[in-house]
């Protein structure tokens, strides 16, 4: 059974979608929201597997809402013709459905989601409610007009920039509005390591380790970045790696 939340500002649009989803017994619509803030609240309280999300909503757009979430469930965007949104979809190859939604396309999208979920369940046996973010979780990153779904396993490095954190993945390094301390609390300790005051590194993305001044270490990451490990953390690092 998959838990579903529908987020759309129009009641009729939500009703229509619910009616379409009634054809899928494996899905259960657990909540509805009429704007982004309500959406964040409902996602927080129900921890859904899948959300249907409208882009244009009063207050905040669907993209803005996703960027505020710590952990993003599978998303299927629903939108009427909207050039701006279509451009975002093309650039980022996100899954979307055009309103009025064609039932066969909806079925395709749902089957795709189910297949992805099953695969994920096989790879990581752990499931249920957990508060830490593992490398299999995805986050939504929005930087100006560009946005990405990013699997945490693909992130090499978080760098603190004032109140923001710079996220390094692929060739991109957008900013997200989260402090490094808040991130450290949520990220799984066995994969993500606080190297110093300004950096959290993904341990699986380390290419080389070299000794550095003062008993510290210098890490070469796979993307070419270099991160210094402070002396205190270096002790911890060696402990972790020797296990």
């Amino acid at each position: 059974m998959y838990k579903v939340v529908i987020i759309d500002d129009e009641r009729l649009a939500r009703n229509e979608l619910k009616k379409l989803l009634a054809e899928f017994p494996e899905l259960e619509v657990v909540a509805e929201a009429a704007n982004a803030d309500e959406g964040i609240e409902k996602i927080g309280s129900h921890n859904p597997d899948l959300i249907f999300l409208d882009i244009q909503m009063p207050g905040k757009t669907g993209f803005d809402m996703l960027a505020e979430l710590d952990k993003v469930p599978t998303v299927i965007f629903t939108t009427a013709y909207d050039e701006y949104a279509l451009k975002a979809f093309e650039v980022n190859a996100l899954d979307y459905l055009m309103k009025p939604i064609e039932p066969s396309r909806l079925a395709d999208a749902i089957h795709k989601m189910e297949a992805a979920h099953e695969e994920e369940l096989e790879s990581s046996a752990v499931s249920g409610l957990r508060t830490t973010l593992t490398e299999d979780d995805q986050v939504f990153v929005k930087d100006g007009d560009r946005c990405w779904f990013v699997r945490l396993a693909d992130v090499r490095l978080f760098e603190s920039v004032g109140n923001y954190a710079k996220v390094y993945f692929g060739t991109n390094k957008p900013l997200i509005l989260k402090s490094l301390n808040a991130l450290e609390e949520r990220l799984e300790q066995k994969t993500f390591f606080r190297a110093n005051r300004k950096h959290i590194v993904n341990l699986r993305m380390i290419d080389k380790v070299e000794p550095y001044f003062n008993g510290g270490l210098l890490l070469d990451l796979l993307g070419g970045e270099q991160v210094e490990v402070s002396r205190r953390q270096a002790v911890k690092f060696k402990e972790m790696m020797s296990l």
């Binding site: 129009e10 009729l12 229509e16 009616k19 009063p58 009025p100």
Partner: protein, 354 residues
């Protein structure tokens, strides 16, 4: 081909008349000499050849497409250069046919004679170049003006077309989606919504054909549109209409009010979580029709929404200008916190025909 023959015509007529005038003077002064005529004809033939070479040179250097200051400099330099060539050629011709202009001339050395011939040639070439330059200058200007006019006309008609047929696809698909939901929930309302939507589509298609329609027709369209939007927004959209009876027959540019109302909803009311009110007012003020659309919202000066709104608003201004010159007016402003008002004022007279 026409231009080439025009050029050669000018060349032949120009040099031919040079020969004719010189002969006329020589005959009237009674200093006719066989060698002189020969020298004159040959010199003019050389002049024709030299100016033609100069023209090829002008083309090669692309002088005509330079900025005007450079053009003048190039023309002066070319004129002097070719005048020297002309001077040498004319002196050579005189020598070859054995023509001696006068006793005084004979006392000068060859160098001085070439200098004098060059000076003579300079005047001829200056006149030649002046005519050439002036002709092309006028011609390019005329062509450019013509092109500009054509371009302007195309842009205008294109703009008008896109403005008039502008019904946001986002609106159409959202409306269709709501109708699909209503088919089960409220079939009577769903049927009415289909009628409203087809009215809107029909109006937007026929709007391209007409310059103006009676205000009543535009108001019907707007009220169909608003009913459909109310179906989507439900309690979030409230509508107030306040239209004076005597304005209903006033000729009005089709889809113009519709676009303002759509803007008001798209950039105003749809952005408010609690929604808002849209007010439409039509009345005469001192012989002019005044239409106002007031909506809940904030007039934005930056961001994406203004660009889109910007097109709609600018096209409204342009369209009014096209139809009424300076007699009509359009403005949009923030009335007070959270209320935006757009106003159209058009004269009672029928619009100018374009």
């Amino acid at each position: 081909m026409k231009n080439i023959s025009k050029y050669w015509l000018c060349q032949i007529v120009g040099w031919g008349s040079n020969i004719a005038i010189s002969l006329f003077f020589v005959f009237t002064l009674g200093r006719y000499q066989g060698v002189y005529v020969l020298s004159l004809v040959l010199t003019c033939a050389a002049g024709l050849l030299i100016t033609h070479l100069m023209r090829i040179h002008i083309h090669k250097l692309k002088v005509m497409s330079m900025r005007i200051k450079r053009q003048v400099i190039y023309f002066i330099v070319l004129t002097v250069l070719y005048a020297i060539v002309f001077g040498v050629a004319s002196e050579f011709i005189d020598y070859a046919v054995g023509y001696m202009p006068s006793e005084k001339m004979q006392s000068y050395s060859r160098g001085v004679r070439i200098l004098l011939s060059t000076f003579n040639g300079l005047w001829v070439l200056l006149i030649w170049n002046f005519i050439y330059f002036l002709y092309h200058y006028v011609e390019t200007n005329r062509k450019q003006e013509l092109n500009n006019l054509k371009l302007e006309a195309t842009v205008k008609s294109l703009e008008l077309k896109t403005i008039k047929s502008h019904i946001n696809p986002h609106f159409i698909f959202n409306a269709l989606n709501s109708i699909r939901a209503l088919v089960d929930e409220n079939p009577v309302r769903a049927r009415r919504a289909i009628t409203e939507l087809s009215n809107i589509l029909r109006s937007s298609m026929s709007a391209e054909k007409e310059e103006t329609v009676p205000l009543k027709q535009e108001l019907n369209l707007v009220s169909d549109y608003l009913q459909l939007e109310q179906m989507r927004f439900e309690e979030r959209l409230k509508v107030e209409m306040n239209v004076e009876e005597d304005t209903l027959q006033h000729p009005f540019p089709p889809m113009m009010l519709q676009m303002l109302v759509e803007n008001g909803i798209k950039h105003g009311i749809s952005k408010q979580i609690k929604g808002g009110v849209i007010k439409i007012q039509a009345k005469y003020i001192a012989d002019k029709l005044q239409l106002t659309v007031t909506n809940t919202g904030i007039l934005q000066h930056n961001g994406r929404s203004v660009q889109e709104g910007g097109f709609g608003l600018k096209s409204t201004t342009d369209r009014l200008h096209l139809l009424y010159n300076d007699e009509a007016r359009f403005e949009i402003k923030e009335l007070k916190e959270g209320e935006v008002e757009s106003t159209i004022i058009i004269p009672r007279t029928t619009p100018i025909n374009s």
